[in-house]
Amino acid sequence: MKVLVCIKRVPAPGAKIQITEDGLDIDTRHLGFTIGPHEECAVEEAVRLVAEHGGHATVLTAGPPEAEEQLRYGMSMGANAGVLTEHTAHDPQATATALTETIRTLESEDGNFDLILFGNESADAGNYQVGIRVACALERPIVGGIKGIELASEGAHVALQRESADGIEVYQAPLPAIAAVKEGLNLPRYPSIQGRLRAKKAPLRTMQPETAPGGLRTVQLRQPPEKQHETVVLGYGADAADSVVDLLTEKGMV
């Protein structure tokens, strides 16, 4: 089976994000980059599916040339090839168009991907729509929030599982299909030394599709205001238990 995973270069989590002077972007001078946690699980799942069913896994990103680093990481986890679509716009419609055009080109050369995986939302912008826009353009089914993927034995459809407010839902989608996945789908592997060495030499292709800006334009990014408040220290060690229980009583919990 052929699986494609769309990933995004995002600032490493936990770092204090600084914003550029014009307020239009994040200041990347002192930041490390990574792929988002949802997408890391998507790459892991693609590699596992290919290991189980045979075939080929490709990682694709729409981003700056530096995003090669994230593609190499995906390949060091076991993806067979990488595609870099050069794209610096932030708006989700343009990003979806860049990915759609790239996928169309790749599929016209080598046949359809049976399954395309996205992260449920990007770790930085969190627009919640790029995968869905690509699926609509390609006229394929897509379900979001996916934490379980099972391929039917005859390979005609896929079962996609997600959590709902009160339990678990399972969707069935005919192949070729698309899923937007969430962390918790699996536990991603750490790339092995051999994986890293293989990824250095793995084929990487660059593409430059035409895109037009969409209707959502970023004016500026800013830090949320820090709420000023004092932490009340109830005490130290086990001696604080009485004060904690007083608090629980006050809140009507005991």
Binding site: G126, Q129, I142, P224, V233, G237, A241, K251
Partner: protein
Amino acid sequence: MLLVLVEDESGTVTSGSREALTLARGLAADLGLPVHAAAFGERSELAATLSAYGVSTLHLLEGTFTDDYSPECWGAALGELIQHAGATGVVAAASDWGNEVLAHASARTGEAFASNCVTVHAGERWSLTRVRGGGMLLEDAELTGAVKFVSLATGSVEPAELPVPQQIATQSFLPEQVGDLAHSTIVDRTTRGSGVSLSTARVIVSGGRGVGSAEGFESLEELATLLGGAVGCSRVATNSGWRPHSDQVGLTGTKIAADLYIACGISGATQHWVGCMGAKTILAINTDPEAPLVTRADYAVIGDVHQILPAILERARARKQEVQGAA
């Protein structure tokens, strides 16, 4: 007109949708437009609530496709209604469902969608502020196009009913193009057994690196049971295999809105903070007085969770017995 996609739980309009209705009424007043609402299936029981929020028409999307949820079909059906009824703006709560259906409908209609907004101002262009990375950054943005789609982050607007309800009409809408879509179908639903869910729990006892092991969570389980709450955890606890991912609180886990969040041995990196900052009160138990979550919490106990939790359990049980004895 402006259209609000309404979400209900067993016939009651959700608080997120009430916020969306209140926002839409303000935007519509600025634009001199009426507010309509859309719901899937036979939902005429919502009309009374919607009239109190100023909705003049409720569109019920009907057809066999509404028997079971399919994101592609429901999004396409909403897109068809938007074009048929001439909506120029669409508002929904930024729930998983609201974001999913609006993303599909905006993709079908070729229009822009701004998700997770905290403020929206209407005009020829709409100016808005949305949250990125679960709340790590704010983004000021402009929305243009024939139809503007926005979803509203929970807690952004105070829901407000009108002093006198609006006259409301209900209309059925049967979409025509839903049958031919490549789409997913729901084939199985399992309802969670007993136990309190993280997203609705009043109290959450949550553990991180400081708990040290899967066994270490036993005392957290005990306290959660005693308080009628749920157990949560940090990403470290999930990645260490101590707890299932469904217990994870944070950016890539569950965002909670409990009355009380007791964080045991969690340092509270940004990804965790954005998941628990919706709690009304946060109590952090940690050996490090400088841990980010300790400095952001309302209350803190400094020390080792393994000594503090048993002491709290003992006193809480005793207090509970006193209270029951007195009753």
